[in-house]
């Protein structure tokens, strides 16, 4: 399962020094082959996205938009409309984070279908990282929008005498959001890959295509659901008391 793909082999052969330096920065011991598959794939996906947006930026035009601009405007409009629906009036402020999350997770999910690459989201650490980022983001947004005291008062529920019951329940449910975001994305990607490889070992010819197609559809859907749940949580965090 930890078989190195060709990118990771290149990284490990030539860049193991910087890899160990990075590990040392966060206090972990150096290893013989420090780069893991998911780290290099994440870096590759980030590089692809940066290059894509750099190319888009150089071709932006109001009078004669090209195909790339049309596609990216569609995606941007979609994210912005969904943010407006879920978060309400302040929706467009959160398009940056939610849109980035959507594009990043989408590309990470989809790159696994290309033969010599592996989805970074198949490793549990990567969805966990995205979920932690979302968790920190929506709590931070809530605290900045409402102030720390009023945001903490959220947890107490609608009536003050329900607070001793509501606060533990709310805390557990917020932690469960972290867990559910992680596991939903990870299990979908992992199961999709496993099912495809199982069927490839059973009937090598046509049948795995159906499962790869399902995996593509699920990849899109999971990126969308991650984004929309982020927006729902942000909307819940900034909701004013009425």
């Amino acid at each position: 399962m930890e078989k190195e793909i060709w990118i990771t082999r290149i990284f490990n052969d030539y860049l193991s020094g910087p890899g160990n330096a990075l590990l040392g920065l966060v206090g972990m011991h150096g290893q013989a082959r420090p780069w893991a598959n998911y780290i290099t794939m994440e870096l590759l996906v980030a590089a692809i996205i940066v290059v894509l947006f750099a190319v888009l930026r150089s071709r932006l035009s109001v009078e004669a938009p090209g195909k790339l601009q049309h596609c990216c405007e569609l995606v941007y409009g979609f994210v912005r409309t969904t943010a407006g629906d879920q978060i309400g009036h302040d929706g467009p402020k959160h398009v940056a984070f939610c849109g980035t999350l959507f594009v990043f997770i989408l590309f990470m999910n989809l790159i696994g279908t290309i033969p010599c690459f592996e989805s970074p989201t198949m490793t549990a650490s990567v969805p966990a990282g995205c979920a932690v980022a979302t968790f920190l983001y929506y709590n931070l947004v809530g605290v900045l929008a409402l102030g720390p005291l009023k945001y903490a008062a959220h947890f107490a529920g609608p009536m003050w005498w329900l607070a001793p019951l509501m606060i533990p329940i709310e805390i557990v449910s917020h932690l469960a959001r972290l867990l559910s975001l992680t596991i939903r994305l990870w299990a979908n990607m992992f199961a999709g890959e496993k099912v495809t490889s199982v069927f490839m070992s059973l009937v090598s010819l046509v049948v795995p295509v159906a499962f790869m197609g399902l995996h593509l559809f699920v990849s899109l859907l999971q990126a969308y659901v991650f984004m929309i749940l982020t927006m729902v949580y942000v909307g819940g965090a900034v909701a004013h008391e009425h």
């Binding site: 932690v132 596991i183 199961a191």
Partner: protein, 104 residues
């Protein structure tokens, strides 16, 4: 406000990467003594998938009826359907995650 949000977020992420450097390990046993685990995980997955199928069937039935009653609201109903189906699906996937974590 967005710049402050991102700055605070970046600070917290850097701090958490220093605090969270840990490793985990797991063990295994011979297949003979873990037969109950394998049978139990098979049943758990079957029950989870069955109930997930029932719940998704209910969701799709409600969606189809709502779209038939109110074709104009079809887009919004479809969005709610997709979101609902994915959340129900993730329930069965939690069981799969536990199976993968506990079995070998």
């Amino acid at each position: 406000m967005t710049k402050r949000v991102f700055f605070a977020l970046a600070l917290m992420l850097i701090a958490s990467s220093v605090l969270c450097a840990q490793t985990t390990s797991g063990g295994g046993a011979s297949s003979d003594s873990r037969w109950a685990l394998y049978i139990g995980s098979g049943f758990a997955m079957a029950i989870a998938s069955g109930l997930c199928g029932l719940a998704q069937g209910k969701a799709v039935a409600a969606c189809a009826e709502a779209m038939a009653r109110n074709p104009g609201a079809g887009e919004r109903i479809q969005n709610a359907l997709i979101l609902g189906l994915v959340l129900i699906e993730s329930m069965a996937l939690y069981t799969l995650a536990i199976v993968f974590l506990k079995v070998k």
